[in-house]
């Protein structure tokens, strides 16, 4: 059992938790992920690490409430325990030798883009962050990004905060304005990552994306997380989760991501109804 040391709501659908897991905290690097189960018989949920405190032995996770399991997790509080927590899994973000990088985050993906930005910033790399949200209420981690970036651009779909528009617009503007990036790192919804790669490709700037496919064991056993990268089958859990964005078949990944959508919606409604009954 793994203790929830702290819990904070970042916005109405996104929550941050620090989980006591010293072995994982000792090793976790930006870009890697963990798998947790909220309770016995629960699903195994993969979540990319949002930070860790090696001294306290805690790992930070930030999750969006999208299904039954994240709904259950969100009902846990400080001092409660979760059943299982394993990691760190996958490969860490490659940061060596990078001098200037654009980080593009979308929605809750910003939570995992942040530790990458922080690490690069610590290593003395010039970091330009572009983070996008649907609206002002969904904005997260603004101060943290400010502290880790040499330049920060915030986008909202409706213009309720920062600039109105999507993240690829300022990215293109910066590149066309003469910014020379060694790499662009994009973390967010598949559709956003796809369009980031379409934006950077004409300029030939290496673009790394973080994939978050359906997964069970996370250790290279089940093969559920397979993706087509450069025409070959790759497994996000051991070969990734980060890949060369120009090589990833995004359309296939988006299609596979929808496989259990109906089931997941039903499950979530079921869990929400249970909690409603409890309240009544």
């Amino acid at each position: 059992m793994y203790k929830i040391i702290s819990k904070r709501e970042l916005n109405p659908t996104v929550t941050m938790m620090d989980i006591e897991a010293p072995l994982v905290a000792r090793k976790a690097q930006p870009g890697q992920f963990i798998i947790l189960r909220v309770d016995e018989d629960g699903e195994r949920i993969p979540l990319t690490v949002a930070g860790c405190d090696k001294e306290k032995g805690t790992v930070k996770i930030i999750f969006q409430i999208v299904g039954a399991s994240t709904e259950l997790l969100n009902h846990k509080n400080e001092g409660d325990f979760i059943q299982d927590f394993v990691g760190p899994l996958g490969k860490a973000t490659h940061t060596e030798g990078l001098r200037k990088v654009a980080i593009v985050g979308g929605g809750v993906g910003c939570a995992i883009a942040l530790p990458v930005a922080q690490k690069l910033h610590e290593l003395g790399c010039e970091v330009h962050s572009i983070i996008g949200f649907r609206n002002k209420d969904l904005l997260i981690l603004e101060d943290e990004f400010k502290a880790a970036s040499d330049k920060l651009i915030i986008m909202t779909d409706d213009g309720s905060y920062g600039e109105k528009g999507v993240v690829t617009e300022p990215l293109k503007r910066l590149i066309e304005g003469g910014e020379q990036y060694d790499e662009v790192i994009a973390i967010g919804p598949l559709i956003m990552m796809k369009f980031v790669t379409l934006t950077t490709k004409p300029f030939g700037i290496k673009t790394i994306v973080s994939m978050n496919p359906i997964m069970i064991d996370g250790t290279g056993m089940c093969g559920g997380c397979r993706l087509t990268v450069g025409g070959k089958t790759k497994f996000a859990c051991v070969d990734g989760p980060e890949f060369d964005g120009f090589e990833v078949d995004f359309d296939e990944a988006m299609s596979r991501g929808m496989m259990y959508r109906d089931f997941e919606q039903e499950q979530r409604e079921h869990v929400c109804n249970l909690f409603k009954k409890e309240v009544q």
Partner: protein
């Protein structure tokens, strides 16, 4: 007087049609009278050919003699000296190609039902003996075991009985490895695996779940933590795919994924929170035990039609005969001498957002015929030109094997692997290219059987004991 019947006592089983709709165990086990009758067929041969056919050398005539004496616990103790998992072996070992293939009674008639008797004895023990085993006197040495599948559990059990302090590290949330994620409930009830794990814990073995060796901790860190020897039994790795078009469509599973969802993640229960496709028509590609398990699981999940697609003929099917027979009885259709060429998905050209897009609708296969025998002596299948046809299915499960897991190799310096990625070991000891590091099971051999993995765990336990006793 021995029982000279040429036939072994049949194993009572659930009705084939009935069992195709439930996940209860198919084989029901001998009752006491049947066990005694079968035990009387053993001639108690002096040279014990059967024992040489057992990868862990169970003293077969000795345990059967105890059964005849009605000393069932005594029989269990005989088996237990050689095997840590009798209730598991009695169910999933391919006895017909091992101990029973050497049985003198098999020369004229059928071999003694050794596996069925082993199961009877183990089940009798589990339902009659509640006493916890005594923790052996500790010798002060610490050994780490990586993976809690059949090789790891066997190695752990043998070392614990010799007084070693053993810790088993398991990557998943539950101990048992392939016994819990791979082999389905109807062939090996999970309560039986749990009981075997509990017995090991009672012997003083610690089981640490949620620790991925190669990630959470490395082999070198285990040595730093004071473990003096390490056994790697991390199992088979990534599932292999065929490399044909359509393998990423929705409704295509690896057997590992399909079985893990239904077994470990309990999707077979109606109230499970684990999503799985309840397909109506399923094609399973492959002919091994895993393919049979996947096909029979799909049937029990509600499929109306399940096909096994295998490119060779019935004779070459690598699965156990008993499993193939069970599958056929349950109505699974064998499409032999057929090889898939592509998987077909739904595509609505007018609506890219049609929710049916990208789901499997069929699998195209081509007929094969057997050509000349290849280097291995097996006749290799060749395509019959122009014989392509489409099977209407909404789910395809690929069960054509696995390739070794890269996690430990990539984080352990000096650990040699072969061309295929399997860990290289000395056959007689299981010793790897690193001092104090031993390995066995699928991590070494690639996909094989439970009992071979147990044999490897046993070999390594003996070698580790010798290594640490002389250190």
């Amino acid at each position: 007087m021995p029982n000279m019947s040429l036939k072994k006592n049949p194993m009572p089983v659930q009705d084939p049609i009935e069992r195709g709709r439930n996940f209860k165990e198919v084989a029901l086990g001998y009752d006491e009278a049947t066990a005694l009758d079968e035990a009387a067929r053993c001639l108690n041969c002096k040279n014990m050919p059967c024992v040489s056919g057992c990868p862990v050398n169970v003293h077969i005539p000795a345990f059967i003699a105890k059964v005849r004496e009605l000393d069932f616990e005594g029989a269990y103790q005989v088996i237990n000296k050689s095997s840590s998992l009798p209730a598991v072996c009695g169910r999933v070992c391919p006895q017909e190609t091992q101990c029973e293939s050497k049985c003198v009674r098999g020369i004229k008639g059928e071999a003694v039902g050794i596996g069925r008797l082993e199961r009877f004895v183990a089940d009798w023990h589990n339902s009659h003996c509640t006493e916890a085993p005594q923790i052996p006197e500790q010798n002060g040495h610490k050994v780490a075991i990586v993976g809690s599948g059949p090789s790891g559990l066997t190695c752990a059990g043998d070392l614990a009985k010799l007084g070693y302090k053993v810790t088993v590290f398991e990557a998943l949330h539950l101990a048992g490895g392939v016994l819990v994620y791979g082999i389905p409930e109807f062939r090996l009830p999970k309560s039986i695996v749990q009981k075997e794990v509990d017995t090991l814990k009672a012997l003083g073995v610690d089981v640490e779940t949620n620790v991925v060796i190669g990630k959470t901790l490395t082999v070198d860190e285990l040595f730093e933590m004071g473990y003096e020897a390490i056994f790697i039994g991390s199992g088979a790795g990534l599932p292999r795919f065929m490399g044909i078009p359509g393998e990423s469509l929705k409704g295509v599973y690896s057997a590992n994924e399909f079985l893990t969802r239904s077994n470990l993640m309990k999707a077979y229960k109606s109230d499970s929170t684990t999503p799985i496709m309840h397909a109506k028509k399923v094609a399973v590609v492959g002919g091994g035990n895993v393919a049979m398990d996947a096909a029979r699981t799909a049937l029990r999940m509600g499929a109306e039609k399940v096909y096994i697609v295998y490119r060779r003929s019935l004779e070459e099917l690598p699965a156990r005969k008993e499993e193939v027979e069970h599958a056929m009885e349950e109505g699974i259709e064998f499409k032999l001498l057929n090889n898939p060429t592509r998987i077909i998905g739904f595509e609505n050209p007018d609506d890219r957002r049609d929710p049916r897009n990208g789901f499997v609708t069929g699998i195209e296969c081509i007929q094969m015929e057997l050509g000349e025998p290849d280097a291995s002596g097996r006749r290799s299948p060749v395509e019959v030109p122009g014989s392509e046809f489409v099977l209407d299915v909404d789910c395809v499960i690929i069960a054509i094997g696995t390739s070794p897991n890269p996690l430990i190799k990539s984080t352990t310096e000096g650990l040699d692997v072969n061309r295929k990625g399997g860990i290289v070991v000395e056959e007689a000891t299981g010793l790897t290219s690193r001092e104090g590091v031993y390995a066995g099971g699928d991590a070494v051999t690639g996909a094989a059987t439970v009992i071979l993995a147990m044999g490897a765990g046993k070999t390594a336990a003996k070698a580790i004991d010798e290594y640490l006793s002389n250190k």
